[in-house]
Subunit: 131 residues, 2 copies
DNA sequence: CTCCTATATCGATGTGTGTCGATATTGATT
DNA sequence: AATCAATATCGACACACATCGATATAGGAG
């Protein structure tokens, strides 16, 4: 069966005029990330050697209560940024790299290639001094 | 007089555990972007051939009132995403590509996620949404 | 100076959201 | 069955925020 890779694959962004619908969709995704607790959750999960973490591993290090952790994980999950898997009593969360990459690319100005071009020099400095 | 917004060059993100301070700083930046109207403003400004736009060019196409436009532009400006310059009665806004790039890089996973490909992500049923 | 235009600020209002205690649900174990 | 542990949901609170009308500020023209 074809796997249902969610990832609505972010709408175009700075490369053309966003319509209201695309803007709302993108804003919702960024809104899921735009929270200190959720950013820390993401970074903590990403920092795990196994690439995954269960709730019980996250509440204490972050200094927030378990319901709050569950709430944030749910927000991130519904935003497609996290994937989850139940194993016995525990639920393990892991990143969805494709989704993060699509959000990442959403911030690209015109001539930027996606993927692994860590040496991307194509970012021209166009907006400098012109008075 | 267009002062140069500091642009602290985003803290590390998914590559190490975020501290509370870094997380708050990053979250504030993403929060500035996580709004439909502001995303549209960014895309509209980016779409200008000159790379800049004044308030009077943005209110009508976006269908929002002038005070609201000014408010959003201020938020983006204070987030370091927009730069502004006064010319006569008009104020022109333009993107700050370096700032956008740093936000973009903040979403990069560390070890180029290809390594995780072997363990196929078990895409289980997503939100069942039961109430 | 006065008038006009463009932009910013103020005030109010309705909506959204982060947090957490209490409680429910799920799974494992006995 | 009962009981415990891990997680999710519920309810409530306080706070933040997006929107816009009214008003203030700044600059240009006459």
């Amino acid at each position: 069966m074809t796997n249902c890779v969610v990832v609505p694959c972010c709408p175009p962004v700075l490369q053309k005029r966003l319509g209201q619908g695309d803007a709302e969709e993108l804003a919702a995704a960024f809104k899921a990330i735009a929270d200190p607790a959720r950013l820390r959750l993401l970074s903590f999960i990403a920092a795990q050697p196994s690439g995954e973490a269960c709730v019980c591993h996250l509440a204490k290090p972050l200094g927030i209560q378990q319901p709050t952790v569950s709430h944030h994980l749910k927000v991130l999950f519904e935003a497609g940024v996290l994937d989850r898997e139940r194993r016995g009593t525990w639920v393990y969360y892991r990143l969805v790299p494709e989704r993060l990459a699509s959000l990442r690319d959403a911030l690209s100005i015109a001539p930027v290639q996606a993927a692994k071009a860590d040496k991307t020099v194509s970012l021209r400095r166009a907006a400098k001094g012109k008075r």
